[in-house]
Symmetry: D3
Subunit: 64 residues, 6 copies
């Protein structure tokens, strides 16, 4: 432990994810009292069309 | 909150997902006492070959 | 399929969750072309202190 | 119930996943007191570049 | 990798979970070509009232 | 987006989680090109008895 899972829109490079993971691991190690070796970070790309916020969904077409 | 995650087989169109998300948000807002702005819906496509039900897995080949 | 997972703050009653699940299943069946029997809904309570939004986290104490 | 989700690196064949799922279902049925029909197994492929272990992340480039 | 997450109803003992995890790890190692050291198993108890199947949700009370 | 979920052993204080979340949000904003307002962090406590690593599971009792 810990296991960190980050869901995000696609488009970040492997380098961006690596840099982000490094900083996240530092944050976790510093504040949660664990070790880097015990910490995993997983990125999960989610397409924008698959991730909707409730007040930004277009209304249903008339008649539907 | 809330965060709604829907795992499903691939094949639904973006329009179907949008329509589904709109109805899910309405359900959540109505019954859980929250707002649409605070509600997110995420769809996660899972291939049929990656999603198995225990009593429908073919038996191991003879000799395996 | 589908599998619906709803993360929310604690405090909703079993009745509220049941009513919400019923409406969510109706939404999923109507829009995703599946059956109620194949649809599961899971609620996961998450304490408010365990769920933070990035712009609402209090600043670190001075000197920390 | 139960719902089993297995995150793994890509590259396993459908046959490997099927065989794994069969054995996992047997394990779950035997030890958790449930039925195969009630057990689902889902595989989620995660690219190696999306799954980082804290002590194996390359250091940031000098000057970054 | 792999990471195995098992959602189940509460009530299993730690011994049952340990025995189940051991068998799941064996299954994963045998069929997915990985090592026990690289495999984690996590159990997540979900109350029955928080886990609903679509065709077993009682109908809404009359007038609701 | 992004949504960050951190599974960890119980025992951290709300303050530790808040401090960790703040640092994680900073890491995500800096490296993934998003905003703090769009970033959520969720902590999920998992009991040690529910989280097993494959090579540290005690062997089955003799005769089992």
């Amino acid at each position: 432990m810990p296991m960190v899972r980050i869901e995000l829109y696609p488009g970040r490079t492997a380098q961006q994810k690596t840099d982000c993971a490094r900083a996240v691991v530092e944050a976790v190690v510093k504040h949660l009292g664990t070790t880097a070796a015990a910490t995993q970070v997983m990125f999960v790309d989610v397409e924008k069309t698959d991730w909707l916020t409730g007040d930004k969904i277009p209304p249903a077409p008339a008649g539907s």
